[in-house]
Symmetry: D3
Subunit: 131 residues, 6 copies
């Protein structure tokens, strides 16, 4: 947080250390990235956010790479610089190739274009698309 | 378009009919959805948009289902009602299960949450995430 | 506003009536659209918003049609249904043709696409574009 | 503005100086931040924007701190870096604590998550929530 | 979810019923709104989202009304129709007056305006606002 | 793209060179800006995006300056830093004056403000604005 900066492992409270430890275990890394170090200013939000991310990104009916690519696609659509950088790294670690990166970006761009064409032309939902 | 409405196949110019025909061939359907009928008010944009969508959504390093799921994820993140309805239908047609739909939405929600936490806490990009 | 609904001319306070009168005079119409009738729940915001819109949309170095087209373009990009409908009507009243409408939407779509490609690819600003 | 840069007090026209003076008086500061110095390239917009901000942010049924926290929350949701930095500073000056900052961000994050879940699941408005 | 619709209490699994029960207890109501009935298609996301909302919206350094007003402000900024309707209702239940509603909307509008002026003029962060 | 960086003319494949040559011819410049050099990591997207931009931005019922101003307005509304910088430069090259820049930004700001007021107040579309 602006006035306090990042909280490093050695300076962390037991509650924060427990989250850092779990992040490192689940992600099989010894690196805690800046997002978590910033969130550590609010241990409750740190814990809740990590638990949610861990649950949402775990393998399910979608494999981890697909989930990472979707996370990256949404972050690119939202134009969040940090998120794009960190989730590009995460997706690469999960196996995303250069060509896959480019295809994701092409879909993100096209979706953003057609979303606005739909809105501008005030297109009504087809009956067959109604739930 | 507001003052002209949708252009049906039988009322379409040859240029518009050619696009409609290609859509039906590529998508193996006899149905043209409202988006294209609205865009037909501007044949150049109809053609350009269709050619782009066709190229972007063709099988590549990502399979068609993955591309459709990313398209849906971005549309949900952008809160475009028509796009969510039509791409949910398209993704289901491509094989998306109920459970996969739910997992996509969970990732979209989480990405939107953490994107704002990153921005609000003014998190700087880790050196290792820099290109 | 939800719990009070629109305020019609005959039910309006003198302060609200004064704004309604000015809207009708400046726009050369006898119709007050729903946006203003809703804002009338808060006379200070009604007055401030109208005075600002009147000043911003007055002829300047850009003619009224160009300003209306920019207003519509931004509203389409923001996917605001009411705003798209009302500003499409306003732009048409100011002289926008069907072809101009379509060209605006094409630019809005393209800008939204390239904005995300720029972000996703983390493109750095060229030195020559720096102020 | 890009090609002209910030306008400092000593270089300002009387119209711009009058706004700067009012900002310093109302905010009880001798500092004009970059936003106003950039807007000064357009004295009409500088004046209109300042008058609007002054009116909107004045104490009313909501106290100044609550208004600043809402301004910050919206800026964080919009991911506007400058706005987050300047309104975090303004909210702190108005009394926001570290814990309040963290709670605001938690709400902003959660709202952004649930807004997309609502859209993605195409949830219809409950009758009892209709105005 | 589109193909399954809302899950009513009597049709819910024990896991979903447990969440519904907790919502009704915490909110002191016998009404489950459509958002939760739609999310119930994915019990894990239903539970996680409710637990997160419950934790984030609990009284803390900000009182429940202030948190509801911030939630509403972000939803209005994001233009999420369902969220605006449901959180306007929630904020009113927590004590929001008509005048407070109007002041929130005025701040939301102004923040969205100045966020874009800042971006368009490419305003750099003042040194004193840097963390 | 992050891991490969920009592709310069001398290092480009024939397909990429052909696009670069066309950009320089159409824009009457010998400068390729970073956006295209980044997109060159994906020659198909480079070509498709350039062909689309060229078609959309060509003179039509709207003159090139008006199109550039709309592109800039949307980019400012979307808060895309690179896009604002590059399209401010492009619009200036096409003839945009300082005063026109300021008027565009004023419209962008006002549209963003009223778009949210409309949403927050849940304003229904006037019958006369319906298509």
């Amino acid at each position: 947080m602006p006035t306090r900066g990042f909280i490093e492992y050695q300076d962390a409270s037991p509650a924060v250390k427990a989250v850092y430890d779990d992040i490192m275990t689940v992600r099989q890394t010894d690196y805690i990235n800046n997002f978590w170090k910033a969130l550590a200013a609010d241990p409750a939000t740190l814990r809740r956010t990590w638990e949610s991310v861990k649950e949402v990104m775990a393998p399910g009916q979608l494999d981890p790479l697909t989930k990472e690519m979707i996370y990256l696609a949404v972050s690119a659509s939202n134009q969040c610089g940090y998120c794009i950088a960190s989730h590009t790294a995460a997706a690469r670690k999960a196996g995303m190739s250069d060509a896959q990166f480019s295809e994701i970006m092409a879909v993100v761009g096209m979706a953003n274009e057609t979303n606005r064409l739909v809105s501008g032309y005030q297109v009504e939902i087809d009956d067959r698309f109604k739930a």
